[in-house]
């Protein structure tokens, strides 16, 4: 189980991660979606005890990352988005080195390594030097490495990035197998449909803030029941923000990057939508346009990640 509480990371004035709160139950696969630079890798680095948070904390299986980093390290298998390999090491030796680094005995390692290589379909490549393996093979080998100490929690940062379609399918199959083994998996991608297929829940992160979270079904239902609305305003953006914030059917209100429009999710009937627009005009909110966006899963991600959530 992973519990993240008010996790914040700042670099000077730049906030990479802003009060992230998240709970991932044991045995679930949680997909973390966001654009490049949204804060996914920062979150993963903090959870992997590679980066200290500015404030807030997180627990891995009840162990605090700040107070018990050593215990946390033994409970997680971490795969970074970019990683290198040692030249002149064979695939077997690569896994053997990391097995030894986790304190696994030689006899156990010699039993474990063939099983792991089989899991990631690299048995044939066991005596190949790691630096000559293809990118997909290196990714799979790195996944095998992250499993060598049988961790309960896997933190996988964009494991399928840069892979060709076949390698992506292979990676997805391996992850399904790991899910069946009862691992808690936190996985990131900037491609939402890719994660939707294999995740129980997903969270969408943008500019360091979690802007949407829930099970894949919940989010899909929400999409069907909710509309993404964009309101363009003529000045007085803040007054409009205050107005829409008070509307009970409005959620995920955000200012858009253009600085003159707002976006929000509206959960209500057409009549209620008309009534809200009437009320806005009665309150002298200078609305230039008020439009509903047709959405699919990818569109929602694109639209949500354009703005910064205010509520």
């Amino acid at each position: 189980m992973i519990e993240i509480i008010d996790l914040t990371k700042k670099y000077g004035k730049f906030t990479a991660l802003d009060s992230l709160n998240l709970t991932i139950e044991k045995g679930t696969v949680f997909g973390f979606v966001g654009q490049n630079g949204a804060g996914k890798s920062t979150t993963f680095s903090i959870l992997a005890t590679l980066l200290s948070p500015t404030s807030g904390t997180a627990y891995i299986n009840g162990h605090n990352i700040s107070k018990e980093p050593k215990t946390v390290r033994s409970q997680i298998g971490y795969m970074p988005d970019f990683f290198g390999v040692y030249d002149q090491l064979k695939a077997v030796e690569y896994l053997d080195f990391y097995g030894a680094s986790y304190g696994i005995s030689q006899s156990e390692r010699s039993k474990l390594i063939p099983q792991l290589l089989e899991l990631v379909n690299l048995t044939q490549k066991q005596d190949s030097y790691v630096d000559v393996l293809s990118r997909g093979m290196k990714q799979r080998l790195c996944l095998a490495r992250s499993l060598i100490h049988d961790p309960e929690v896997l933190i996988l940062d964009e494991p399928a990035s840069g892979l060709d379609p076949r390698a992506r399918v292979e990676m997805r199959e391996i992850l399904k197998e790991l899910k069946n083994m009862g691992k808690t998996i936190l996985i990131s991608s900037h491609i939402l449909p890719e994660l939707a297929e294999m995740c129980d829940s997903i969270g969408i992160i943008d500019q360091g803030r979690l802007v949407a979270e829930g099970s894949v079904n919940e989010i899909q239902q929400r999409l069907r029941g909710e509309k993404l609305i964009i309101a363009k305003l003529y000045r007085e953006l803040d007054r409009a923000v205050n107005f829409f914030e008070d509307q009970p059917l409005v959620s995920q209100l955000a200012k858009r990057d253009d600085g003159e429009s707002l976006q929000f999710m509206f959960k209500g009937s057409v009549e209620e939508q008309v009534q809200m627009l009437k009320n806005a005009l009665l309150h002298d909110i200078p609305i230039v346009s008020f439009s509903e966006i047709e959405t699919n899963l990818e569109d929602v991600f694109m639209e949500i990640t354009k703005g910064v959530e205010l509520s």
Binding site: T49, S52, P80, L89, F97, S101
Partner: protein, 282 residues
């Protein structure tokens, strides 16, 4: 000690370092060069000698020459071997994965230090039989050879720790390398230059019982080597110059570099992984 022998980083580095044939070829060339130097020295000396003899005092001179060459080699190579070990892993993007394993920071740093200087140690140890040629002609005792070997090993680890320190603190290898060479240059040429200046101040009678030259000499590995090889000459020079400290220079060297070694390693160990404790500023 058992933990050190079972150190996975050390084992892996040994495997990588000694796997390639190039390393052994380099070692063979080094030993060949050293042999040619010795044979050349003996040849020239016997040729220029009226009796065609190689006397014990000449054997001693040859030993001193070899010792200084080896020390120069150590001071030149050690920064290059150590200043990239951590920053290099960072640049190759292998450090993050290593840091998420159960290996302690101490184990990683010690494994890296020992493995990075292991080839140099091998070179030094492998050259010992060639060194032993001096025993054929006298002038040097086996004890002196062993002392010099110990002194080399100590110096390698002391200067290696400086390389590890910069490699851990500085993200880029090239900067870490420049910083390590800079410090090494100061501790060798810099301290010798400052020693010469402060000695001349003493000899001009501008200061009496001024211990400053002693402190510079204490930090200089070449001067300490000279102190080992010619203790009487060095002692006389110090007494004439009004340094006013009778504590053995080699002991001061051992103490000061042990402190440097420990401090460098402790900082490296502490800084290898981030301090996960939240520093509340708000």
């Amino acid at each position: 000690m058992r933990n050190l022998l079972l150190n996975p980083v050390l084992n892996k580095e040994f495997k990588l370092r000694f796997r390639s044939f190039k390393g052994f070829l380099g070692l063979a060339f080094y030993l060949l060069a050293l042999s040619i130097l010795i044979i050349g020295f003996i040849y020239l000396d016997t040729r220029n000698s009226p009796m065609g003899l190689f006397r014990p005092d000449q054997s001693r001179s040859m030993f001193m020459m070899l010792s200084f060459i080896q020390m120069g080699l150590i001071l030149f190579i050690t920064p290059g071997l150590t200043a990239g070990v951590i920053s290099g892993e960072r640049e190759k993007q292998t450090l993050n994965i290593l840091l998420t394993t159960n290996q302690s920071s101490t184990s990683i740093i010690l494994g890296k230090l020992i493995s990075s200087v292991s080839f140099l140690l091998l070179m030094i140890v492998a050259s010992m039989p060639i060194y032993s040629i001096v025993f054929l002609f006298g002038g040097i005792s086996p004890g002196q050879v062993v002392t010099i070997l110990g002194y080399y090993i100590f110096t390698i680890f002391a200067f290696g720790s400086i390389g590890i320190f910069f490699s851990t603190l500085i993200r880029r290898t090239i900067i870490a390398m420049i910083s390590t060479y800079g410090v090494t240059l100061f501790l060798t040429a810099g301290t010798a230059f400052l020693y010469a200046i402060s000695m001349s101040v003493n000899q001009m009678g501008m200061a009496t019982n001024n211990p400053v030259p002693y402190f510079f000499a204490m930090l200089n590995p070449m001067m300490n080597l000279l102190g080992f090889l010619e203790p009487d000459a060095f002692r006389e020079l110090s007494s004439q110059s009004g340094v006013g400290i009778d504590f053995p220079l080699w002991a001061a060297y051992l103490i000061s570099y042990t402190i440097i070694f420990l401090v460098m390693l402790m900082i490296s160990i502490r800084k290898l992984r981030p301090n996960m404790k939240v520093r509340s500023k708000e």
